[in-house]
C-alpha cells in the first residue's frame, strides 16, 4: 500500500487523540489580544508615522522659523513643508486602505501579498521622509554658510586665504559622507527589523509565486 495512503488512514484515526477544549475555554480565547505579525507591523508603522511627524514638527517650531527667515530660506522650506504634509497624508490614507484589506479569509497567496503591500507602503514612507530630511539638512547648511553669522565668517576667512574652493569641496564632501552614513544606518535598521519579522512570510510567498513561472 502507498505510504501516504497509510498515513491518511492513520491521520483520520488520530482525531480521537486530539485535545478537546471546552466551550468556556474557547469563549475566553476570543477576547485575548492577537500576537500576530500583522499587529507588530501595525504598531511599528504607527510609531514610524509618529516619529517622522515629530521630527517634522520639531523642525518647524517658531524659533526655527525665525532662524530660517534670517537665513532667507524659509520660503523654500515652507513649500517643502506643504508638499511634505500632503504626501504624508496620502501615505497615511494608503496605509489605512491597505491595512483594512488584510483578510484571513483570502487565499494564502493573496493574504501574503496584501501584508507585503502594507509593509511596502511603510518603507516608501520612510524613504520619502529620509529624502525630505536630507533636503532640509542640505538647504539648512547652505543657509547657515551663506547667511549665518558664524558661516559668513568662515566663508570670508576662507576666501581671503584663497581657499574658497577647498572649503566648499570640504563642505560638500562632509555632507555626502554624513548623509550616506545616516542613510546606511537607517537602511540597516529597517533591513534587520523587517528581515526578522517578515522573513518567513516572504519565503512562503515566493514559494507560491514561483509556481506560476
Amino acid at each position: 500500500m502507498d505510504e501516504l495512503e497509510l498515513l491518511k488512514k492513520d491521520w483520520q484515526k488520530r482525531e480521537a487523540h486530539l485535545p478537546k477544549l471546552s466551550y468556556d475555554q474557547i469563549y475566553k480565547m476570543i477576547w485575548k489580544k492577537s500576537s500576530s505579525i500583522i499587529k507588530w507591523i501595525f504598531y511599528i508603522s504607527i510609531l514610524e508615522f509618529v516619529f517622522w511627524a515629530g521630527i517634522n514638527i520639531g523642525f518647524n517650531s517658531p524659533e526655527t522659523m525665525e532662524e530660517l527667515k534670517a537665513m532667507h530660506i524659509h520660503k523654500v522650506i515652507m513649500v517643502l513643508n506643504i508638499i511634505n504634509y500632503i504626501i504624508i497624508l496620502y501615505f497615511i490614507y494608503k496605509f489605512y486602505i491597505n491595512y483594512k484589506k488584510i483578510s484571513f479569509t483570502d487565499s494564502s497567496k493573496k493574504l501574503m501579498k496584501t501584508i507585503l503591500g502594507v509593509k511596502r507602503t511603510v518603507t516608501q514612507y520612510v524613504w520619502f521622509n529620509l529624502i525630505i530630511f536630507t533636503t532640509f539638512l542640505i538647504i539648512n547648511m547652505y543657509g547657515v554658510l551663506i547667511y549665518g553669522e558664524e558661516g559668513k565668517k568662515i566663508v570670508e576667512a576662507a576666501s581671503q586665504d584663497g581657499d574658497a574652493f577647498v572649503l566648499w569641496a570640504m563642505v560638500i564632501g562632509i555632507s555626502i559622507v554624513f548623509t550616506a552614513a545616516i542613510l546606511f544606518l537607517i537602511w540597516l535598521f529597517y533591513k534587520l527589523l523587517y528581515g526578522i519579522l517578515l522573513k518567513r512570510l516572504r519565503e512562503n510567498y515566493n514559494e507560491l509565486k514561483k509556481l506560476e513561472v
Binding site: 491521520w11 500576530s36 494564502s108 497567496k109 493574504l111 506560476e212
Partner: protein, 164 residues
C-alpha cells in the same frame, strides 16, 4: 445580538475544533506553542466571523483562516532546523534497527512532514484531510494544475526522506 453571535461562533468552533488542533500539531513542536497557535487562530476566526455569511460550510472556511494564520504568524521556533534534522536521523537509525512495523513507518512519516516548509505542510495537510485539488488550489491561491504539480513534488520529497 452580539451575545448571540458569540454563542453561535463558540459553539461552532467547539464542534469543529479538531481542524484547528490538527493545524497546530503540524506547525508546532511543543504544547505551549500548540496552545499559542490555537489561541491566535481562534482570535483570527472570531475577527473574521462577522464576514462569514454561511454560504460556505463553517469547516471549509475554518481551514482557510487556520492555515493562513499558521503560515503568516510570526513566532520563534524553539527547535532549530539542525536539531530537528538530528532527531530524525536518530529515529531513522532506530527504525532500521527494529522491525519495520507500521507504527515505525508512521512515526517516520510524521517526522518527515514536520521537516517540510510551511507551504508544503499546508498541501500535505489538505491532502490528508481529503480535500480535492480545486479546494487546495483555492485555499492557497494557486491554480489547480499547480496544486497537482506541487503536491506530487511534495509526495516525492516525502518518499525520498523515507527511503533514502
Amino acid at each position: 445580538m452580539n451575545k448571540e453571535l458569540e454563542h453561535r461562533f463558540v459553539t461552532e468552533l467547539e464542534d469543529n475544533q479538531n481542524i484547528v488542533h490538527k493545524v497546530c500539531s503540524l506547525y508546532t513542536n511543543d504544547k505551549d506553542s500548540h496552545n499559542d497557535l490555537f489561541q491566535e487562530i481562534t482570535i483570527q476566526l472570531w475577527k473574521a466571523y462577522p464576514k462569514f455569511r454561511g454560504d460556505a460550510k463553517f469547516s471549509t472556511w475554518m481551514y482557510r483562516v487556520a492555515l493562513n494564520t499558521a503560515i503568516t504568524l510570526y513566532r520563534k521556533s524553539k527547535k532549530s532546523v539542525k536539531t530537528q534534522d538530528y532527531d530524525s536521523v536518530v529515529h531513522k537509525i532506530k527504525a532500521n534497527d527494529y522491525d519495520d512495523t507500521e507504527e515505525r513507518q508512521l512515526k517516520l512519516m510524521y517526522d518527515a512532514i514536520k521537516q517540510l516548509g510551511d507551504i508544503d505542510k499546508a498541501l500535505v495537510f489538505l491532502y490528508l484531510e481529503d480535500k480535492d485539488y480545486s479546494e487546495i488550489a483555492e485555499t492557497l491561491g494557486i491554480s489547480e494544475v499547480n496544486a497537482r504539480v506541487k503536491l506530487s513534488r511534495v509526495k516525492t520529497k516525502l518518499k525520498t526522506i523515507l527511503n533514502p
